[in-house]
């Protein structure tokens, strides 16, 4: 009953806020996985609303396409959940405003001084395997040299952000030899899926031995399921850095609240919520404050990373190498 009342109140609040021009409402565009009731969204919303005395409303869906469709008419005050492989287009749209946030609290493994996008969590692309069935791989070379009966599933770089990160990773490790590397991996690739969920489902169902995911994926199994059998293979060549970002919208009619939220992102209060709701490393929290399951996760020594300009320039080459090799 209480829940129903809250829902009704929420709807009403949203409607009145619209009527009087978003007076005290902060509208945040977020991906489905972030804003849904089983993602990090609700706890972050509650924490922020406690300190701002406002109403935070998520609009979930395809954040960037929606923002670009709406252009300057967008309702968004803040967008969250972009990554560096698509931020170039967001920046060039002119719809983003400088964040003005002090970035000194960041604890990323790379330097970050961007004036538009604020990182809120990170991970690295990695191959996950069942450590009771495989010994793992200590390098990309070892994975490419593995017998062809090791079954790998990956995501399509044309439809999935993690799939795109993978082709950039291969590009970073192998450069001009990327196509040859893909050709060696091809016999082990069982299939390529539209998104991460399908791949991970095939892996947990036992259809694949190895799945493209993130270095932080085992933390979910360790903490939420007390299952220690899933490991990320840590490669000597390094891992592609995967960071998620937030930005303030230029045309916001609630600039103060938007600024307040942008600053809130790097506070310990927000950051403490990240690991066990978004299953990623927090972007601004000393390691000693991470949950135990995260502190003990193996992390790569080398972090590979393309800036958004490099990523945009290499994207077509990297996808072509993948497509050519896998179409043989």
């Amino acid at each position: 009953m209480k829940k129903t009342l809250l829902t009704v109140a929420g709807l009403f609040a949203a409607t009145t806020a619209f009527a009087d021009g978003h007076a005290n409402t902060l509208t945040v565009y977020a991906p489905d996985y972030f804003g849904s009731e089983w993602g990090p969204g609700p706890s972050i919303e509650a924490a922020f609303e406690e300190q701002c005395g406002c109403d935070l409303v998520y609009q979930t869906g395809d954040v960037l396409p929606r923002l670009l469709l709406e252009g300057e008419n967008t309702e968004a005050d803040v967008v969250i959940g972009l990554n560096t492989d698509v931020t170039k287009r967001a920046r060039e749209s002119g719809l983003m405003a400088p964040h003005g946030v002090d970035l000194s609290a960041l604890t990323l493994p790379i330097d970050w001084d961007d004036d538009t996008f604020v990182p809120f969590n990170y991970s690295h692309t990695a191959f996950i395997y069942d450590n009771t069935k495989l010994d793992g791989f200590d390098s990309f070379e070892a994975l490419l040299n593995a017998p062809d009966d090791v079954r790998v599933v990956i995501q399509d770089p044309r439809s999935s952000i993690s799939g795109l990160a993978l082709v950039l990773w291969v590009q970073a490790v192998y450069g001009d030899e990327a196509e040859a590397a893909w050709a060696r991996l091809a016999p082990k690739i069982v299939t390529v899926t539209q998104g991460w969920s399908e791949s991970y489902g095939l892996f947990t169902d036992g259809e694949a031995d190895v799945v493209l995911s993130y270095t932080t994926s085992p933390a979910y199994h360790i903490i939420a399921e007390e299952d220690l059998t899933k490991s990320a293979a840590i490669f000597d060549e390094g891992h592609y850095f995967f960071v998620e970002l937030a930005a303030k919208v230029e045309g916001t009619d609630n600039a103060d609240l938007a600024d307040q939220f942008m600053a809130f992102i790097l506070t310990p209060e927000f950051q403490n919520l990240i690991p066990t709701t978004n299953w990623s490393f927090p972007a601004a929290l000393p390691e000693a404050d991470w949950p135990e399951g995260f502190q003990t996760l193996p992390r790569p020594e080398t972090v590979l990373f393309y800036s958004e300009d490099e990523a945009a320039a290499l994207r077509d080459t990297a996808i072509d190498a993948w497509r050519t090799a896998l179409s043989q």
Binding site: L11, E37, G41, Y58, R158, T191, E198, A224
Partner: protein
């Protein structure tokens, strides 16, 4: 004249609802974009796989439908209903179910391996076709079964007493009338394939037009290209529809007393084999889903029930609206117009509607109505395919009689036509409801938390590592869809002999 307007206006509305959004995307994208070689390859693969998927589906459906039409056995009605489930399954669930049976670690390979037989590899173009047959065989069987049931039982008795060949005299003309339409609908459905083709196609060789649209929209934000590809889809869908309408000629067999056929011909064993094989093929992956989903039921978050409620409301709304549009549209032109609806990408439709409504209302506030509208557009082709057989028959058999009695307009429908249409109306209403339940549709562009539908909730759970709960949600989804289907389909058959 007035009754012509009744069918022309809905046809124009449907065509406008499809072409308007595509035009909006095209306009916003700044006009057509030239297609690349890779796009041309995608078009070629899309047409190729859709052709074979549709052909195999209808060819296999003929013996299965015939076996079901001429045999009576306990549980036949339930079997027909449950065998329809694959058609209404969310794609991702169906693919994981198929993999559990046909995959590298699936049931079949678990049997083949120890016997020393070669392993079955599902991934490749054949896997795509297998999945499409799995999805669409149930629809083909039902459409063709309906054709068989439309042959008056009196004809069989007369033919038998004269010693005439049943097949050439009665069944072949029926098949000539029904099969091209069934082929066209399935061909057009398979043109829009994306996730199936990708996951089971094994890699970039199995790239479809829909994937190219998705890429153009999500990554390149190239709306001109997305719209250009959508126009290609429209053209392909329209061609398929026109060809089917031209081919679909066959004589109506005249009126009967709507009694059940008591058949004596054909091999019982052969019919049992066909029914058994079809049931095994369609039900084994569903069984795998049930096994995976039952433990997940305990893990379902509370919000799943509200999402289920919203999905049921959308489904019921879709049924009402679809049936209201479908009856006046049950003509050749109406069916051709309706094929536009499923031939075009849901993503482009959703984006176009978004562009059109955005200056006037907040998109989030119309998320559910838009989802409903797109569901109606997507269901119309199936519904019309099902209804037209019945409507044409009723008109041919009773139109002149009604006219001679001075019945016109609504009175003619109410007294003469609608009572004959109960069975196809029940079936098509059930199908519409079940499809609307399972559709992820355009909600991702419009939604906000607290508005999600059941399929969306299932995808979100998967995206949060909660595979077990997601399988539970999938089971709830399939259960609810089947229940909806059952209620309507059954409602259409109450007091009927079959």
């Amino acid at each position: 004249m007035a009754h012509r307007l009744v069918s022309i206006i809905p046809a124009l509305i449907v065509a406008g609802l499809v072409i308007g959004p595509v035009a909006a995307v095209l306009w916003r994208g700044g006009g057509f974009t030239a297609l690349s070689d890779a796009d041309a390859d995608a078009v070629a693969f899309t047409v190729w796989q859709a052709f074979w998927s549709a052909l195999i589906s209808v060819v296999l459906a003929v013996p299965v439908a015939r076996a079901l039409a001429r045999r009576q056995f306990p549980g036949r009605g339930a079997l027909i209903a449950v065998m329809g489930a694959p058609f209404i399954l969310p794609v991702i669930v169906a693919v994981l179910g198929l993999v559990a049976v046909f995959g590298g670690r699936g049931v079949i390979n678990a049997v083949l391996g120890p016997l020393g037989l070669p392993r079955l590899d599902i991934y490749g173009a054949h896997g795509v076709i297998l999945a499409h047959v799995f999805f669409n065989l149930p629809l083909a069987v039902r459409l063709i079964l309906q054709g068989w049931l439309s042959i008056p039982s009196e004809r069989f008795q007369v033919a038998a007493s004269l010693g005439a060949p049943l097949f050439w005299l009665l069944e072949w003309p029926m098949l000539k009338r029904i099969v091209p339409g069934a082929f066209a609908v399935i061909f057009v459905i398979c043109l829009g394939s994306f996730a199936v083709a990708l996951t089971l196609g094994g890699g970039p060789r199995a790239t479809t037009v829909e994937l190219a649209i998705y890429q153009a929209f999500k990554f390149d934000f190239d709306l001109g290209k997305a719209a250009s590809l959508a126009v290609v889809q429209l053209a392909l869908g329209l061609c398929a529809g026109l060809v089917a309408l031209l081919l679909a000629r066959g004589d109506m067999l005249g009126a009967g007393l709507d009694r059940v056929v008591q058949r004596w011909d054909g091999s019982r064993v052969l019919d049992a084999v066909w029914i058994g094989l079809a049931a095994l093929f369609l039900l084994a992956p569903l069984g795998a889903l049930v096994v995976a989903g039952v433990p997940g039921l305990a893990l379902l978050p509370e919000g799943i029930w509200a999402a289920t409620g919203r999905s049921v409301m959308i489904a019921l709304g879709a049924v009402v609206l679809t049936m209201a549009l479908a009856l006046p549209l049950a003509t050749k032109a109406g069916e051709a117009a309706s094929l536009l609806g499923i031939s075009v990408s849901g993503l482009v439709l959703g984006t176009g509607i978004f562009l059109i409504v955005q200056p006037y209302v907040r998109p989030a506030s119309v998320a559910l109505p838009v989802t409903l509208l797109v569901n109606v557009l997507m269901s119309l082709p199936f519904v019309l395919r099902i209804l037209r057989t019945g409507v044409d028959g009723a008109k041919a058999d009773y139109g002149r009689l009604g006219a001679s009695l001075g019945l016109r307009g609504w009175a003619l429908w109410r007294i003469a036509y609608l009572p004959r249409l109960r069975r196809p109306m029940g079936f098509s209403a059930g199908l519409t409801g079940a499809l609307a339940m399972g559709d992820l549709g355009v909600i991702t562009l419009f939604s906000r938390p607290g508005q999600g539908t059941l399929p969306l909730a299932m995808y979100e759970l998967m995206g949060r590592y909660q595979m077990d709960a997601a399988y539970g949600a999938a089971l709830v989804l399939v259960g609810t869809s089947l229940a909806l289907f059952w209620v309507f389909d059954r409602g259409g058959r109450v007091n009927a002999d079959v």
